[in-house]
């Protein structure tokens, strides 16, 4: 089965610094990876999608990279703010021809003022 791992359960960072979250996957590279934000008691909210043939994608203070050699995606938040505190989820397609998403367990980011 296609697995996705977010090895850091929690990350604390000082306001203004860059937060970097890691997502690793097994087996073959997915066609794309998606990143979501989840606040307590709420549903995930889509942030960014990066395709296999894209090395990097940016949206405002967010940046995602996709390294098929390392089988890894990095998610960066620059100039982090306390409002960025949330759990960030990485997701991949479950397999060839499947459109269901397999989610990682998430990394809980706390931005300390």
């Amino acid at each position: 089965s296609q697995k996705i791992e977010q090895n850091s359960e929690a990350l604390n960072i000082q306001e203004g610094k860059t937060a970097t979250l890691t997502c690793n996957y097994t087996n073959y590279s997915p066609a794309y990876l998606q990143w979501y934000r989840q606040d307590p008691g709420r549903g995930p909210v889509f942030l960014l999608l990066i395709r296999e043939n894209e090395k990097e994608k940016r949206k405002e203070r967010l940046k995602v990279t996709f390294d098929t050699t390392l089988k890894q995606s990095l998610f960066h938040i620059t100039a982090s703010q306390p409002a960025d505190s949330a759990t960030y989820l990485c997701a991949r397609s479950a397999g060839a021809g499947s459109y269901q998403l397999t989610f990682g367990k998430g990394t809980k980011l706390s931005v300390i003022p």
Partner: protein, 114 residues
């Protein structure tokens, strides 16, 4: 911005009872999904639905589960005979397409089976 709405936000039921969780997806979306998240665990796929039929389902989605789109706006998940281990947050999601289209999630129904 259009959003996915789910009702009820909380549902408490006794083991063995039937529950129906309701969702109103975004109106122009064509693909509908149910995911669940047991407390402290990953978000897990249950089922996807397109063109009035199930397109994919996971091992979790056994004979006790069913989905329906009874009219042009609602999308429901029924659990026929609830078990304690069905206690979880159930999220409905919709998308305009598959693959590269992001999922839009509702805020979930917290189901507690006692």
């Amino acid at each position: 911005e259009p959003e996915v709405t789910q009702t009820p936000s909380h549902q408490v039921t006794q083991m063995g009872q039937e529950v129906i969780l309701r969702c109103v997806p975004i109106s122009n979306h064509l693909y509908f999904y149910w995911y669940r998240q047991i407390l402290g665990q990953k978000v897990e796929f249950l089922v996807s639905f397109y063109n009035n039929e199930i397109s994919e389902k996971s091992e979790i989605f056994d004979d006790q589960f069913s989905v329906e789109r009874p009219d042009g706006s609602n999308f429901t998940l029924k659990i026929r005979s609830t078990k304690l281990e069905d206690s979880a947050m159930y999220f409905c999601a919709s998308s305009s397409g598959t693959g590269l289209s992001p999922l839009h999630f509702g805020n979930g129904t917290r189901l507690t089976v006692t």
